[in-house]
């Protein structure tokens, strides 16, 4: 038999029959390549498993705590930066109005009261229009259409509640 089948047996870690073992042993006596393959196979299989230094789990706990602390700090700084930016932005936009109010308070108070009055009358008018519309709508839509609409709304509501529940019950850990 030529070299190739023996090499394949060794590379595949084939379980050999007694006859095949005899053939392989006789081939190993004359083939340096296969001898090296057989020896390295034995060495690899008998190599020891190396354990870490004692206290590995404790060191991991310390590292995990440090990681969590770093992430909490990172989050806190993020929130602080966000709040400061938002306050600065709002301040930048409302500063001219604040200055104007401070320089002529009576005119601004009159204008604000006029605006509130307008807002109130607009809401009232919109409410009247809506009530007329609601009174007229049942005449245009058949009862089954109402059932479909209500079912759709109920389904969307249920989906929303499930999504919120799943998000809230997600396992918490340090940031990925």
């Amino acid at each position: 038999m030529n070299h190739q089948p023996f090499e394949t047996w060794l590379l595949d870690d084939k379980i050999l029959t007694p006859a095949e073992k005899r053939e392989l042993n006789s081939h190993l006596r004359e083939c340096k390549t296969c001898t090296a393959l057989a020896e390295t196979g034995l060495v690899l299989r008998s190599a020891r498993v190396v354990a870490p230094a004692p206290g590995f789990a404790l060191r991991f706990q310390h590292r995990l705590e440090a990681q969590k602390l770093a992430e909490r700090r990172q989050k806190l700084w993020g929130v602080i930066v966000l709040i400061v930016s938002a306050i600065s932005l709002i301040g930048f936009f409302i500063a001219p109005y604040v200055i104007a109010v401070a320089s002529a308070p009576v005119e601004w108070l009159t204008a604000a009261l006029g605006f509130l009055l307008f807002l109130f009358s607009s809401v009232q008018a919109f409410g009247e229009v809506l009530s007329v519309f609601v009174r007229m709508l049942p005449n245009f839509l058949p009862p089954y259409a109402w059932m479909v609409i209500l079912s759709g709304l109920a389904g969307a509501g249920l989906l929303w509640i499930v999504s919120i529940w799943r998000f809230a019950h997600r396992p918490q850990g340090v940031l990925a």
């Binding site: 393959l37 190599a47 990925a176």
Partner: protein, 202 residues
């Protein structure tokens, strides 16, 4: 559900004590894989710690149908492969800080310990040197095959390869290892001969 699956389920619910039990159970296989991959105990310690940290962070993604050990060793192997690839481009300096700049304690590997005794064995050193000659992915495949008795299918799943790719990588790696083994033997013989000739008795 066995004890290990119960720990995993509890850890997925945020139980840190359950995760600590998983760390205790798998510290040696994970450390051994990292050590065989990276070649140095200090780097292996750091890589093993990082592996457990990543496992902790991504525990919600773990599929209970898969063996936990396979999932964990897959994280370790990928981390080591990435680290070795990065090391090719930049000299890696090992100090007492991780990638994020957090300090951590490095164990004293010079202190006498069973691990220290194990890694000083001559055959172990030869195996270690041989492994470092291999391509990183081939090395991971060999370690999974011969230290953990993984099947070709399990290796393929862990390393995101096809079964045929794993088979061909294992064949190639075994041939390379045999080549290095022969070279080492020749060097040893040459050294013995040189000493023999230099000896004043002859």
């Amino acid at each position: 559900m066995n004890e290990e699956q119960a720990w995993v389920a509890q850890a997925q619910q945020g139980d840190d004590e359950a995760f600590a039990k998983l760390v205790e159970t798998y510290q040696t296989p994970v450390f051994n894989l990292c050590y065989r991959m990276l070649g140095e105990p200090e780097l292996a310690e750091d890589a093993a710690q990082e592996t457990f940290l990543r496992a902790y962070q991504h525990l919600h993604r773990y599929d209970q149908k898969r063996p936990f050990a396979t999932w964990l060793l897959s994280i370790a192997a990928h981390y080591c492969i990435d680290r070795l690839r990065r090391r090719k481009f930049s000299m890696f300096s090992m100090d007492a800080e991780d990638d994020e700049g957090n300090s951590f304690e490095i164990p004293d590997m010079d202190a006498p310990s069973p691990e220290h005794e194990a890694i000083t064995g001559q055959t172990n050193a030869r195996v270690h040197a041989m492994l470092q000659e291999l391509d990183t992915t081939d090395r991971a495949a060999v370690i999974m095959r011969y230290w953990y008795d993984y099947s070709e299918k399990e290796i393929a799943e862990s390393l995101n390869l096809t079964v045929s790719a794993v088979k061909s990588r294992l064949h190639r790696a075994r041939k390379e290892l045999a080549g290095v083994w022969v070279e080492q033997e020749d060097d040893l013989l040459a050294e013995m001969e040189r000493r023999h000739n230099e000896s004043p008795a002859f």
